[in-house]
């Protein structure tokens, strides 16, 4: 295919892609994401391909729509019949009954736990009904290996607008007005960050996508990277145009092989079609993106450590200032954003800042993605407007707590976040409210705990994680987290002593204040927040030699 030289050629191509993607066609959409693969989706896929061989049925592999718990997922179009937990033994029945006779196979339908009724179509699933899917709308709807699918769904239209109808300053102004805040956790206004980088002197500037989603229990970035990589790429090109960057990097953790594969395919397609590289869409703007793989170090999610890693060094953060916008990668002005932030950009440019800011709270606009795991009925990825309550998120989208148990707390933000107990279930989820409660938005990872979860054990688990992942450059994080882990381990083994809780708390406060980077400064959060909300559990372990949840010992 020849490179696209003008916005008109892109529009013409879009029309032909739309015609190709006939919506009334008989089609099986099979989720081929990491979650479904682990449950055997590839066997189902092979069997389906063999079974429909020669028939007029299209099989489309899609990325992860987020409903991982019920995988492998197979959806029958055009009726959108949503089948769950499909195995190879169901394949012939799907072909003969559903495709052949138009009959719905009831045993493969999702049953709504609230009323015991089966749900037939995708759009009726309670899981999707409670969501507002703006960034994830195409996840599960398109084949991430087919750029044509993305193009048909208005893909790269925002880029065309940004290149031809907007000035670089105009792009940045639009993002500032949208009030998008960094989705990596800190919540810094994205547009303002871009402006700093744009204003930094220098011809050579870099934009970086932080896809080092290392938070154990979070996989929002994975689902986006796998299911719709072009949206992230488009966001980065628009950002680069605004900032004046000529080169971009996506730093992705090596534990995500499928995301890497899909990104590589997407990058090559974008280059082949003149959407990336020299003279993008004939506009004279040059920009390329390279992939860099992590090698197993959580700290590389910290932006200065990430840049050190791209530079081929151990991932050690460095003190700021200078900020990356002044001196970043190889000493040049650089701008780093999270996957979800970059993926939010195309729709802000296409639909305008007002559209984006039309949902959310006063200080936190737009939608946010969350992954929910632990003691919850529907583990998976959801996208909801910022500002809905924790109760809505956990009990509506998440389907509540399994086995009739009661909700105890939710850990927000993983090992660098904090826990929120039941009395705050009606708190709106936004950056400020979560920080006030001692948690953080983090990268959107939630771990739900029920009555059978021990909060001291959970804090120990997270401390074990951060202690192993500390780079070790500064004393508070290197040795402080080690001593904290030793104390927590002692408490969980029933060997806690009088004074341990106080020593732990004092040390936690200093590690938080004194550490060099965000990892060390946030590492004590699980301990401090569980001490704040569940101090009685610590006291029961230390003084009564009792684990109230019977996790540490019976």
């Amino acid at each position: 295919m020849k490179k696209l030289d003008t916005p008109q050629e892109l529009d013409a191509w879009r029309e032909s892609c739309k015609n190709e993607l006939d919506h009334d066609r008989l089609r099986l959409r099979v989720c081929d994401g990491t979650g479904c693969r682990a449950l055997g989706s590839q066997h189902v896929l092979t069997a389906l391909r063999q079974a429909v061989n020669g028939n007029n049925v299209e099989i489309m592999t899609t990325g992860c729509p987020g409903f991982c718990e019920q995988g492998p997922l197979v959806t029958v179009d055009p009726q959108q019949i949503a089948y769950q937990q499909v195995t190879t033994k169901h394949v012939h029945k799907i072909i003969s009954d559903t495709l052949g006779k138009g009959e719905v196979i009831s045993e493969l339908l999702y049953v709504d736990p609230s009323n015991g009724q089966p749900v037939t179509t995708e759009s009726e699933l309670p899981y999707y009904k409670s969501q507002m899917r703006r960034v994830t709308d195409l996840n599960g709807q398109i084949d991430p290996h087919q750029i044509e699918h993305y193009i048909a769904h208005k893909g790269y239209m925002a880029l065309s607008k940004a290149l031809y109808d907007m000035s670089p300053d105009g792009i940045i102004e639009e993002v500032i007005r949208s009030q998008l805040r960094g989705r990596g956790g800190a919540g810094f206004p994205t547009g303002v960050k871009w402006k700093f980088c744009r204003q930094s002197p220098g011809d050579e500037k870099y934009v970086i996508c932080n896809a080092d989603e290392g938070n154990p229990g979070a996989f929002t970035d994975r689902s986006l990277l796998e299911a719709n990589p072009h949206r992230i790429i488009e966001g980065m090109i628009i950002g680069a145009r605004g900032i004046g960057a000529t080169e971009g990097f996506i730093y992705i953790r090596s534990e995500y092989p499928l995301a890497i594969e899909n990104l590589n395919i997407a990058l090559n397609q974008a280059r082949e079609h003149g959407l990336l590289g020299k003279n993008i869409l004939g506009s004279g703007f040059d920009f390329n993106i390279q992939l860099r793989l992590g090698a197993g170090a959580f700290v590389c999610g910290e932006e200065t450590a990430l840049m050190a890693s791209i530079e081929g060094k151990p991932g050690e953060p460095r003190p700021r200032p200078p900020f990356p916008a002044q001196e970043g990668l190889w000493g040049k002005p650089s701008n780093i954003n999270n996957v979800k932030s970059w993926a939010s950009i195309p729709s802000i440019i296409a639909n305008g800042a007002e559209w984006f800011a039309g949902v959310g709270t006063e200080k936190s606009k737009g939608t946010a993605m969350f992954s929910m795991v632990g003691k919850i009925n529907n583990p998976g990825v959801v996208e909801v407007p910022i500002g809905i309550s924790l109760r809505e998120l956990i009990f509506d989208a998440g389907g509540g707590i399994p086995d009739g148990k009661s909700f105890k707390a939710v850990q927000f933000g993983g090992p660098l976040g904090g826990c929120i107990p039941a009395q705050y279930l009606d708190t709106p989820i936004d950056y400020e409210s979560l920080t006030d409660l001692g948690a953080t938005m983090g990268s959107g990872g939630l771990v739900v705990a029920d009555e059978s979860t021990c909060m001291v054990d959970l804090a120990r688990y997270f401390m074990n994680f951060t202690q192993e992942e500390s780079c070790g450059q500064c004393i508070p994080c290197r040795w402080g987290t080690k001593v904290m882990l030793d104390i927590l381990t002692r408490i969980c083994n029933g060997q806690g002593e009088k004074g341990d809780i106080e020593t732990l708390e004092q040390l936690a406060n200093t590690v938080k204040t004194a550490s060099l980077c965000g990892l060390g400064q946030a590492a004590p959060n699980p301990v401090l927040s569980s001490l704040r909300h569940f101090r009685d559990e610590y006291e029961a372990h230390v003084y009564d030699k009792r684990c109230p949840s019977k996790v540490c010992w019976k």
Partner: protein, 213 residues
Amino acid sequence: MITLTINDKTIHTQVGRSILEVARDNAIWIPTLCYHEALKPYGGCRLCLVELETPRGSRVVSSCTFPAEDGMVVHTNTKTIQQSRQIVAQLLLARAGHVPFIRELAASVGVNDTPYTLPQDTCVLCARCVRACQEIVGMSAISIANRGSDRVVVPPFKISSADCIECTTCVLVCPTDAITLDDITDSSRTVHEWQSEYARGACRLCEYTLNGN
């Protein structure tokens, strides 16, 4: 020229200096460990933390890495700062309480014993040796291996490094005497830690003579 206040004292100074440098020039004491005048600031030991007054509340920063700016209001001895220094000192004592220098450093911030337990070692991982070898000597014969609490300073693969030019700068900058230089015979010396053994003679870089100094 810029003007800032440190502990309520008004100070005039040039642009481009760190808070630590400005404080020291004005006889304001701030404890340090990883800092060395000849090396780039590292920000690793966190003993030199100070508190800044900002419109959005107070902020704790490492004074060795943070540039002095016009209008800045700095406090070097607040309760928060004292507490964090003392805890860092207690961690250092747990690691290297047998080292006189560490005991003196801890005493200078009011700490004489520690409630913590850590594996003991004379090396406190300030990385002065590694940075000197890289920044001053330009050889990078040694480096830090592993991460977190497993960190250790070693020559590559813990085998005597071909890059070592026997300048012994690492020995000079080590604050805890974790790196030792010993005479084996009248004509040869060794740096134990790096398993490097060499003839006494002039340094190949600076012609500094080890003999009879």
